[in-house]
Symmetry: C2
Subunit: 167 residues, 2 copies
């Protein structure tokens, strides 16, 4: 391959040409799907239960955990957010009575976020609407197999980003 006619502008053109790169498109698509899907589910959740999606995220993770409780740090990791962000988030949810902080028996520094009865009740009433919304958005777009495939592909990306970014 011969050298390009105009060296310095050519590197610029080269860089511009690479803007259509597959990986950049992938990043953009992840961002767009995230925003669209989050906005859509948020609207649906506001209409049906007047609940922020993040609250539901916390409630779901607690409900799935043994004893309906989770350490603050672990919850923050699960939610992929900072511990300070999670502190305020749990503050709000606790003020609404859906969660409660409990001291941790085997580590006196730690706190456990515990799902209250009211939190569990709110979750069981909001979950069906949330799921119906999600089905409405996803099922016509992707078959069950495609959804599973998408999950697997995304999980592989997540795992590798985590592994190569955390150190």
């Amino acid at each position: 391959m011969p050298a390009p006619p105009t060296p310095d502008p050519a590197t610029g053109e080269d860089a511009i040409a690479r803007l259509d790169d597959r990986r950049i498109e992938l990043l953009g698509m992840v961002l767009e799907v995230h925003n669209e899907l989050l906005n859509a589910t948020q609207r649906g959740l506001e209409a049906s239960a007047d609940l922020p999606v993040q609250w539901l995220g916390v409630l779901i993770r607690l409900a799935r955990s043994p004893g309906q409780r989770l350490r603050m740090t672990e919850l923050a990791r699960d939610m992929t957010m900072s511990t300070s962000g999670l502190t305020r988030l749990v503050d709000r949810i606790e003020a609404a009575g859906l969660v409660q902080r409990q001291p941790c028996a085997e580590d006196r520094r730690g706190l456990l976020a515990v799902l209250t009865d009211e939190g569990r009740s709110v979750l069981t009433s909001a979950a069906p609407c949330h799921l119906a919304d999600l089905e409405r958005y996803l099922d016509p777009a992707l078959s069950a197999e495609e959804q599973q495939l998408l999950i697997d592909l995304l999980r592989r990306v997540r795992d590798h980003v985590r592994a190569s970014a955390t150190p």
Copy 2:
């Protein structure tokens, strides 16, 4: 299928059981990948060019557009963010000299965000690092075909969410 033994708690258990639903897992995975990938690329971009990812998003979209310019509203749609958010974002980028606002000839309400020479220069110097980071994160996780497949699946989700949520 016989009725469950304890009716009212059973609906609760039922709702809790559905928390493992494929669609909820998919939503969670999209959120996680978004956060991880955004944080990772952000760190890389800070280290190499000290540039927020959103700035690069604007720069890339402008560079790809004919005349390196885009209407504010269209840019907001492309970035999947509100017009007010974009106003402040462009404010910052313009203050840094990478973009410039120009009046729109055929619509005196409108403004065009135009890439400046400096913006183009910053983009061409930052893009290679950004792409290298992205390759480092994505290529070991997914083959070229899988990446393309992932893009296609995500695009179908995006399109359907947009179509069924906007009205």
